[in-house]
Symmetry: C2
Subunit: 197 residues, 2 copies
Amino acid sequence: MSDNGIHPDAGKRQKILESAFAVFSQKGYQQTKVEEVAQHAGIGKGTVYLYFTSKEELLREMLKAMIKKYLSELKQKLAEETDPWAKLKVMYTIHVSLLQENPSLVQLHLHDFAFVNDQFRSWLETEKEDFVNHIAAIIESGIQTGQFRPLNAKLAAALIISSLGVFLPPHSSECFSVDELVDLLFHGMSRRVSAQA
Amino acid sequence: MSDNGIHPDAGKRQKILESAFAVFSQKGYQQTKVEEVAQHAGIGKGTVYLYFTSKEELLREMLKAMIKKYLSELKQKLAEETDPWAKLKVMYTIHVSLLQENPSLVQLHLHDFAFVNDQFRSWLETEKEDFVNHIAAIIESGIQTGQFRPLNAKLAAALIISSLGVFLPPHSSECFSVDELVDLLFHGMSRRVSAQA
């Protein structure tokens, strides 16, 4: 490790994390040996321990790296849109594509989150809260422009993030379309008085 | 075990399941020994194994019993209401009370679901699907009565069930009210044309 606490070979660390994702998501965390991750990365088991102190740390850092990458890409795509409505639709579309292109993510999500420690859990809750605030700010700007009615933007953001769960088992991203979900969230379930006029 | 495959002492089995819930949710599944569950139930460790073959089976059966009891009570309360709108509101209210009265349930949900096997996972998905269909039927009847607009009832049901997640960390049942969540789902986020007339 270098003086500033950063490993000198960030590329090798990244390669180990990618191998951890590949092997954990295929075999499951419990069934995987650190040696198998090392083999997948084409390095020795000892080298893995230069970067990560334990299998649990490897899982934790892998999950953190994945979540950070996902959220940063998502925020960048959201920044490319100006319309609040379009931003939210883009978020759903990216999320559904991610699930469709990486079915093993669903497995990982359901199986492996229990093995991470409380420190990771706090980190995850902070990231989630930060993302809720990011979406809430988009909603606030939609309220400013008059596209959305005055509402609790934080609750709406939490609802939108929870609603991503409709694409997880027992359903899948094939069962429902993004368009109909967005329509439901935006226009609600109740009969609209205006539609009767 | 009796001839029909049912344990003769259902009361004792129930007592073990209740102790498993108490100890697992306090200490965590991984950190708990079967002996501690036995002690909590006031019986010997050997007796636990007359009812459950392993700690994992004990967790699985405990989760199944809890989920079944919760869903059956919920369905009964829903049946007592006639109005579809009121039924859904009752569902949220019961769910939030459950979380408020049993904060350890949240821990259990987040920590212990990873330890259960694939057979349990299939059972859980079937139960969830069954509950989605139950809620979808309520929505269908609301469409019939004209309270809800024509919409994909199954998607709306999946959204409603996912929306229960807004009361889990990083937020809690104190952050948002059932009334504002129901209002959001029923009336949507967008500015209503009728409100401008």
